[in-house]
């Protein structure tokens, strides 16, 4: 073999053979590895107690238990005002989400409110019930992306979140209808300025390109369709002075002309009408009559929950049948999620552990998996604690409520890298710092707010922590959901008795700790070793996958 051949042999990658599994219900073994897989994908991190609890159910029960809507937590409140500079709309401790746009609001409180909403939103993820609700809301946020920094009104960002959360398992068509009149979206894509004399095409364009029919190979709408849609959408307005801010339709700014669409939409004609809802309804119905709308959304769901690669086999065996089901049931979301998460394809070994954790999966997941206690000594402190998690995620490229563009985060659309975009030299270094900081004595300290992993609670959930070997295997099983070689187990295990001859020293130290759990010296002997052990585990490539 000459040098060139040698290199070619190193470079040539065998083509990955796509799995043959399809949407038929999974009938294989149901155990902790399958429940762990399900939880890691549908929630932020998988807590050991949930992995065990769901493993004890049937597969179908386990999935059903995750597809449940719970009530939205109480809205975010004022934790930022001072006695000398009050918030004119909301006393300290009370919510501001129903405030009008008030010129008397001190300017610095615009951003303060936004930070509160971001912290609160992240807090809802941290405190999530064991359901898909918060993950699914993130999916919709990425789909119907808006940027708080552009919108500049925290109130409407709250209602935008509420709309997505309340409808996260509901009906896609209805959600799109409501989103078209949502104040946050109207502000973000200038819908509220769209007028008959000079239409602003911003929302109309994205409604077609991103939110419904998309840009798949079979989506053949035209530039004129965008313009016609923009004309249908004229006249939607915001009244910023009501409490809460409200939507209204200004028919004098609405284009009453006839809007004609291309052959892709069967030359649909929408006649001008004096009320906005019926024209909007006709437009949405036209868009949802297109099979491409169902396929576009199913593709996004697939890439979000399973893997980013969609080849012809996946398109034909998963995307199209699921899209047909979606369209046939009138765009109800829950039934297709149920089909997908109960399918043999979802549990196929090929599809496990291959999604690169997004920054919230990483940050919120770590907090939940290790039951990290966030700052919580009072109201402000509690919000700051959630804010810490939001900042960790922002540093890694996902700043909640502020995606980079209307198309959402690149990791969910940019071919060919997709999820890999979450990991680069910058963000990986950042994740490694987080791993180190969270497991250090001082913890992660941001402006005096401290967050760290206490390694004991997680360890106590393992089957036999007194054996370094078993503890290592168990911890890897829960955290990676992937078995490792003996060599790697040995590598991690060593951190439990670093500097000592063999693992019996760990067993002794652990026994001592169990005998005297409140003795600080005894406790520190095990916890410092555990911290370096977990730090090492969560710094590997394997931990970044779910």
């Amino acid at each position: 073999m000459n040098r060139t051949e040698f290199f070619n042999s190193l470079l040539s990658k065998q083509e990955y053979v796509p799995p043959q599994s399809d949407l038929t219900p999974y009938s294989g073994k149901w155990d902790e590895s399958t429940s762990n897989h399900l939880l890691k994908r549908l929630c932020f991190g998988a807590k050991v107690e949930d992995v065990k609890r769901l493993a004890a159910m049937s597969m179908s029960q386990a999935v059903d238990s995750l597809l449940n809507l719970d009530a939205i937590p109480d809205p975010p409140v004022n934790v930022y005002s001072t006695p000398t500079v009050p918030d004119p709309d909301a006393p300290y401790g009370k919510t501001f989400v129903n405030a009008p746009l008030n010129a008397a609001l001190p300017p610095e409180y615009y951003q303060a409110r936004m930070n509160v909403v971001k912290a609160w939103w992240t807090g809802n993820m941290v405190q999530q019930k064991t359901t898909i609700v918060e993950k699914m809301t993130l999916f919709w946020h990425n789909h119907f992306a808006t940027e708080a920094d552009t919108v500049q009104a925290a109130q409407v960002v709250y209602y935008y979140y509420k709309l997505m959360r309340d409808n996260c398992l509901g009906n896609f068509k209805q959600l799109t209808f409501r989103m078209s009149k949502d104040l946050c979206m109207l502000r973000y894509l200038n819908g509220y300025l769209n007028s008959k004399n000079a239409p602003d095409e911003n929302y109309g364009r994205e409604l077609l390109e991103l939110f419904t029919v998309g840009k798949g190979p079979d989506s053949k709408y035209t530039e004129d369709d965008v313009k016609a849609a923009a004309r249908v959408l004229t006249g939607h307005r915001i009244n910023p002075l009501t409490s809460p801010m409200s939507y209204f339709f200004l028919f004098t700014e609405h284009d009453l002309g006839t809007k004609t669409f291309s052959s892709f939409f069967n030359n649909k004609v929408i006649a001008g009408k004096l009320d906005g809802d019926s024209e909007l309804n006709e437009l949405i119905t036209m868009l949802f009559d297109q099979t491409e709308t169902a396929r576009h959304l199913v593709r996004k769901l697939y890439q979000f929950f399973i893997y980013y690669k969609i080849d012809d086999t996946i398109e034909n065996t998963i995307i199209r049948p699921l899209a047909d089901q979606f369209k046939a049931n009138g765009y109800e979301i829950k039934p297709i999620l149920s089909t997908l998460f109960k399918s043999a394809h979802f549990y196929d070994l090929y599809n496990r552990g291959c999604v690169i954790k997004n920054p919230l999966d990483y940050a919120v997941g770590m907090v939940r998996e290790f039951s990290v206690t966030l700052p919580n000594k009072d109201l402000l402190n509690t919000y700051q604690g959630w804010g810490l998690v939001a900042i960790l995620s922002a540093y890694q490229g996902l700043n909640i409520a502020d995606p980079p563009l209307v198309s959402g985060w690149q990791a969910w659309y940019q071919s060919p890298q997709y999820h890999e975009i979450w990991i680069n030299a910058d963000t990986l270094a950042n994740r490694n710092k987080v791993a180190e900081g969270m497991n250090s004595g001082a913890g992660i300290n941001i402006s005096g707010l401290i967050m760290k992993i206490d390694p004991i609670p997680f360890t106590l959930q393992m089957s036999n922590p007194s054996s370094a070997q078993e503890l290592t295997i168990d911890a890897i099983r829960y955290l990676y959901n992937l078995p490792l070689s003996d060599q790697s187990v040995q590598y991690f295990k060593n951190f439990l008795y670093a500097g000592l001859p063999d693992e019996s020293y760990w067993t002794v130290a652990w026994a001592e700790f169990q005998a005297k759990p409140n003795d600080p010296i005894v406790k520190s002997a095990v916890s410092t070793r555990l911290s370096s052990f977990y730090k090492e585990i969560i710094s590997q490539a394997e931990y970044h996958l779910s």
Binding site: P199, L388, A394, A541
Partner: protein
Amino acid sequence: MRRRKFIQSAATGIVVPTIINGIPANAFSANSQLSELLNPTVDTDHVMVLIFLSGGNDGLNTVIPLDQYGNLSVARPNILIPSNEVLRLNGNSNVGLHPALGGLQTLYNEQKLSIIQSVGYPLPNFSHFRSTDIWTSASDANQVIDSGWLGRYLDSEFPGFPLNYPNANNPDPLAIQLGANLPLLFQGPNAQMAMNVSNPDIFGGWPNGVNDPTDNTPRGTEINYIRTISRQSKSYADALIASYLKGTNVAQYPAANYLGDTLKAVARLIKGGLKTRLYLVGLFGFDTHAEQGKGTGAHAGLLQQLGDAVLSFQRDLEGMNLSKRVIGMTFSEFGRRVKDNASNGTDHGAAGPMFVFGESIQSGVLGANPQISSNVSVNDNVPMQFDFRTIYASVLKDWFCVNSGQQDQILLKKFNSLPIIKNNCSTTSIEDYHLSVERLRVKCYPNPLVETAIVELSTERGQLQIQLFDPLGRLVKVIYSGKVEAGLHKFSFENEDFPPGNYHLRVSHGILQKSVLIQIAQ
């Protein structure tokens, strides 16, 4: 920018625990045979810094066609820049700059700025991300390419990357994205060629514990990916930190200027000896659908940042004695509509101007002003005068000395280059170019056109193409394409029931491009 805003306001004085302890020394031991194999095709110390203006920059309020000012004032009453505020250019009374672009005006007057008019592509796409993909992949508008033009360039220079990189001969990242991220731009056929950096102080310790073999499943693919990033980052971190610490800025940069901050770091890295050839930085927020402003306002704020940052960067390079080695280039995913909208902004459009700056470029305005009709409709766009890939071709050929075969592969087809770089291989100057364009003497009559039109022009011997672009800026008809002899030629074409409006004839002859506004009547 947005990200920074949140992070800063949410927690000033952020302290992530100290981890910048003991960055491991680069353990790569050079294998001479390997090194030989891994030598780049062309050894060059030339650097290009790309500045992405994200969101679609409004070209007509950036580079102002003064000879069209009357019609422009009819088309964009809400955002028109008062003519007495427009910045003038030495020796060119037809073209002006936005009042916030004082920095670029200075560079132009010092002959360090090239303004390239109406750059775009034949079938404009008005979607941000699709058009960004077209610009970064250098694909045709109806073609989906999974790699970037600079990814392919770097792949042709450094074949086999990332296997065995970094190495003794190539210790530095091939490309760096600093504070901006366009993954497709540097995506090579096999690997991502660029490294992302937000701040050279970031590098911490990298893990090296688990190296279990991986298989060809998706999971195996992703584990390999993360391990590769980890391994490279560890080694590149050394080089980067060393360069960053060695380099010192000599010029003042403007305060509160995101682009300035990133260019400042780029200057430092180059000065510090980093061999990286390509940098991407960005400025965000050009999607000015509403409240775009005139001489002041949102758009002005962005252009102010651009001009100030670029001028400081150029001064810094000059002070560091690096100005001959470095050029910069701006680009944006599209321009904006000719007419403004009722929300005092502009919607997505087609072609727009590009800036190339530095000491090694041919200063001047390349191409003619876009022609604005007196009755601009809501949908009218600035059509392309130059295909964006001819600018890429010029940079590859005249700045990175890429040979023509390699260039065709990188750009996926053949493109001529333009007089942009001052270079021995480049024979044309901008003046020659414009004289040659004038000699084309393109006429089209009758105008407005009802049924048949005649196009008359005089050419040299060579390739000729005559195209018709509709008001949206889309190529709708190729009137002629082929070889011609030197002399006067006449071509005729029929009005094939084209909807009435403002059309452009684009004549392309060798490297020469010329656009003529014609009206098609009912």
